[in-house]
């Protein structure tokens, strides 16, 4: 145990308000600084992204041709597929976009000196490595009779996750996801309190930057959806114990379908948890590089609120094929299509922002434009899948895989890279090499489209998800898809080359390196911002375009 000297915690005086940073260990392990914690989250997200990316790359290598190439068993492939989903969602997208950018820029954008609960903020971060370690352990311990690890899919449906996976591998996943869930709940409490209570004088809710709005809505979704996941994970945990409960076991009067309801009551808001902060980032980038305030600011903010609210009542469109009542299907179909309305408000407002603007095609703007394009593709396939009748044919095919990778792997991830390039100079203090960044963007953009667009064809032709092998007639588009994975991998190399180059060359970034289009508060601070910001709170003047 660590002995803590009286009155001085971590060797740092309670009221030092100068720029002296604490020593290395206290700064990075005992941190209570929103920028340092944000940086930790981003590094964590990059590491998890590499792990999750490795898993998906192995799957694409395997699927490059019919037959079994790389994996020893089909179970191993299923383990890779399941863990790819869990790691990318809980340990890459959410930490990067909420923990990373949210921590860094929500306090700065609303003119607050730090988060409301700095210690709890650090707790949110440190639960994540714990959770990731649990998931990595699960690779190495017995899952089912077929081998190590859990291969029942990231959705963890029973009985695949109860009697189908009796080994401790899945227990580790439950513990890991509970830790990650608590991390997100604490983070959500922190963001809501910060945004509601710590806005700078003069910054009303209706003048708050859209990224802060997006994180506020996201935090409410986290707060209300994750506890339900926690409850259903506990049900799985006790169902798995010998002589335990029987919530999902028909022999005991339980119902496996109920897990799907509970899971997707969490799972559908989770989709918006991942994409809403990306909406916020893209709004800022589009506005900055069009040199115009965002079109329809209030509409944009309340569209996100509407997406969040409606997102809670559409969950069963993930389960059209379980045999639910046709009236229920009709309801969930209609409710799901309603979401297209606020989403359309956002898309058209971005387009209207660019309309007549003086557009600069900088690197972040390229990511933002690509985001809009890819998200529209994923959105319209989503409208198609929302139709209960159509979905019966497409359910669990590669069409679904293509759909949700267009909105997440390309929507959310492009939003993350968009924010990364937009704020990289602000966070690190250095400018990146434009050529390397452009190579990263174009290889990524072409690569992911080559991976996922052909999967629409595969799905329409009836190729099912989650199989290690396929008949020969699917070979062509699978080969194309795997080729796309190699292109994307090349893009990843350029991303790291860009990072290394930027930290070696150290071209200093100025206060506002994007010029007059960038109007939010982070551009009034030095790059990188001092350890403690806004010792004197900024005052927001009462102007019409104050957001």
């Amino acid at each position: 145990m660590v002995a803590i000297p009286e009155g001085k915690v971590g060797g740092y005086g309670a009221h030092d308000d100068d720029d002296d940073k604490p020593g290395f260990f206290a700064r990075w392990f005992y941190s209570t600084n929103h920028k340092d914690i944000g940086t930790l989250y981003l590094i964590f997200g990059i590491i998890s992204g590499l792990i999750g990316g490795y898993l998906s790359f192995m799957m694409r290598m395997e699927l490059a041709e019919p037959g079994i190439q790389f994996f020893d068993t089909g179970h191993q492939y299923n383990v890779f597929a399941s863990m790819h989903g869990l790691i990318m969602i809980f340990f890459m997208v959410m930490p990067a976009v909420i923990g990373g950018f949210g921590n860094w820029f929500v306090p700065i954008m609303i003119g607050a000196p730090d988060m409301a609960f700095p210690r709890m903020n650090n707790l949110s971060f440190w639960l994540l490595p714990v959770a990731l370690i649990c998931l990595l352990i699960s690779f190495a311990v017995p899952g089912s009779a077929s081998g190590n690890g859990f291969g029942g899919g990231w959705v963890m449906y029973p009985p695949l996750s109860t009697s189908g996976a009796p080994g401790p591998a899945f227990d580790f996943i439950i513990i890991g996801l509970l830790a990650a869930g608590f991390s997100s709940i604490f983070g959500a409490i922190n963001f809501i309190t910060t945004i509601l209570n710590m806005r700078a004088p003069g910054m009303t809710m209706h003048k708050m930057p859209l990224f802060a709005w997006s994180v506020l809505v996201t935090a409410f979704l986290l707060l209300l959806a994750l506890p339900v996941l926690a409850a259903s994970l506990f049900m799985l945990f006790t169902d798995r114990i010998d002589g335990g409960t029987g919530f999902f076991d028909p022999a005991m009067g339980g119902d496996p379908e109920m897990f799907q309801h509970l899971f997707w009551f969490f799972g559908h808001p989770e989709v918006y948890i991942m994409i809403l902060p990306a909406f916020g980032i893209v709004s800022h980038v589009v506005s900055t590089f069009s040199k115009k305030p965002i079109f329809g600011y209030l509409g944009m903010a309340y569209a996100m609120v509407a997406i969040g609210v409606v997102g809670f009542v559409v969950w069963a469109h993930h389960m059209y094929t379980v045999g639910m009542d046709v009236d229920l299907k009709a309801y969930f179909l209609a409710a799901t299509l309603v979401i297209a309305v606020p989403t359309g408000v956002k898309i058209f407002s971005w387009l209207a922002t660019m309309w007549g603007g003086s557009i600069r095609f900088t690197i972040p703007m390229q990511w933002a434009l690509a985001f809009i394009f890819l998200f529209v593709v994923g959105g319209v396939t989503g409208v198609m899948l929302a139709n209960a009748g159509v979905d019966v044919a497409l359910h669990d095919t590669y069409y679904v895989v293509a759909h949700f990778h267009y909105v997440l792997s390309m929507g959310a991830v492009f939003g993350i890279f968009c924010g990364f390039y937009y704020w990289f100079g602000k966070m690190s203090g250095y400018l990146y090499n434009k050529w390397l960044a452009a190579a990263h963007f174009w290889l990524f953009f072409i690569g992911v489209n080559v991976i996922f667009f052909p999967q629409h064809f595969l799905g329409l032709n009836g190729m099912p998800r989650r199989y290690i092998d396929y008949p020969e007639e699917f070979e062509l588009w699978n080969q194309v898809s795997s080729f796309g994975a190699y292109i994307t991998l090349a893009g990843v190399f350029f991303f790291f080359a860009m990072l290394v180059e930027a930290f070696i060359r150290r071209r200093p970034a100025s206060e506002n390196y994007w010029g007059e289009g960038a109007t939010t508060l982070e551009w009034t601070l030095p790059s990188p911002p001092p350890f403690h910001i806004f010792n004197t709170l900024p005052r927001i003047e009462d102007t019409d375009d104050g957001h």
Binding site: I4, P166, G253
Partner: protein, 321 residues
């Protein structure tokens, strides 16, 4: 900005070891949970490895109770994790109490703490929504499901009967009614303590809070008696209690998690009592106490729902189908 004086009322906190140590405690505790409940080898397989860490902890618990006496490492990990978590909580709360006394909790920080507690209770409520959703789904629609789900046709009769109206459950008008009255009474004593504190009557506040804690402990004690009786009925194969079905699952997990929250609330109130005894809290500023009271009322409301539905409605034949 170096040397620039802080001109705002927010509370900037110096680096703190507690969050990181919480993570370490969580890791140990999580490992203990898996080892204790599952063991590190396949439940279906033989265990050639070290019995200590790898055997199923539940089995070893049962064998300990029957006098067989094998030891499982899950116990030790769970204990270690819990002790470390207790140490972290002590240190963390001590720091918060000190900061409050040092005047760091300005009015704006105080409002932030209130927001935080409201959000925390909101997420707790959603956690119980999960359990009640499961319970109502099983209770209201089980017969519908029995008629059209082909997977359970083999056992359709048993399926329709579990959680059927008139299921033999705990008699709601014995211990559960006592517990309802105890919790309602504790709601009044905590309000007594609050008003006494606001009016500077510290003696009354101490007594009111002490009685609340005592009632909380009594509730837990009666709940344990109820569980022990049910366990006894199950072990002796008494037909009056069907523990091995969906009703039993919902009953034990919902009341069990509520019991856990009563325990957390009792600890929360106890910490407030300890602070009160040491001279903490002022008539005009005592948010730690108010947060504990809010939490206690929340636990009370959850119990009223449990009492009304889990104990009464579904046990006296109020099922819809």
């Amino acid at each position: 900005m170096a040397g620039h004086a802080v001109e705002h009322d927010y509370h900037l906190i110096p680096p703190s070891p507690w969050p990181f140590l919480s993570g370490v405690a969580c890791m140990i505790w999580g490992l203990g949970m898996v080892v204790f409940f599952a063991g590190l080898v396949d439940r279906t397989g033989e265990s050639p490895m070290m019995e200590f860490f790898f055997a199923n902890g539940l089995d070893s618990l049962k064998s300990t109770m029957t006098g067989d006496g094998s030891v499982n490492g899950g116990w030790i990990l769970l204990l270690l994790g819990s002790l470390m978590a207790a140490y972290v909580m002590y240190g963390w709360w001590r720091d918060v109490a000190r900061e409050s006394e040092a005047g760091d909790h300005t009015p704006v920080v105080d409002i932030g703490l209130r927001y935080g507690m409201i959000m925390f209770i909101m997420q707790e409520a959603m956690f119980f929504v999960g359990w009640f959703w499961m319970f109502f789904e099983l209770g209201l629609f089980h017969k519908v499901r029995a008629t059209w789900n082909p997977d359970i046709l083999e056992n359709a009769a048993g399926y329709a009967d579990s959680m059927a109206p008139g299921v033999t459950s705990v008699n709601a008008w014995h211990l559960p009614l006592m517990n309802t009255l105890i919790l309602l009474l504790s709601g009044t004593t905590v309000t007594w303590a609050h008003h006494a504190l606001m009016h500077g009557d510290r003696k009354g506040a101490k007594w009111g809070l002490f009685l609340t804690i005592a009632l909380g402990v009594l509730f837990t004690f009666l709940q344990l008696i109820e569980y022990a009786e049910l366990y006894h009925l199950r072990e002796t194969g008494h037909e009056a209690w069907i523990g091995n079905d969906a009703y039993g699952s919902a009953f034990f997990m919902a009341t069990g998690f509520h019991g856990l929250h009563v325990l957390i609330g009792t600890i929360f109130l106890f910490v407030c009592w300890a602070r009160l005894m040491k001279g903490g809290f002022k008539p005009e500023k005592h948010f730690g106490f108010e947060a504990a009271a809010w939490y206690w009322h929340f636990v009370d409301v959850v119990w009223l729902f449990l009492f009304a539905f889990v104990y009464i409605v579904f046990a006296i034949g109020g099922g819809v189908h």
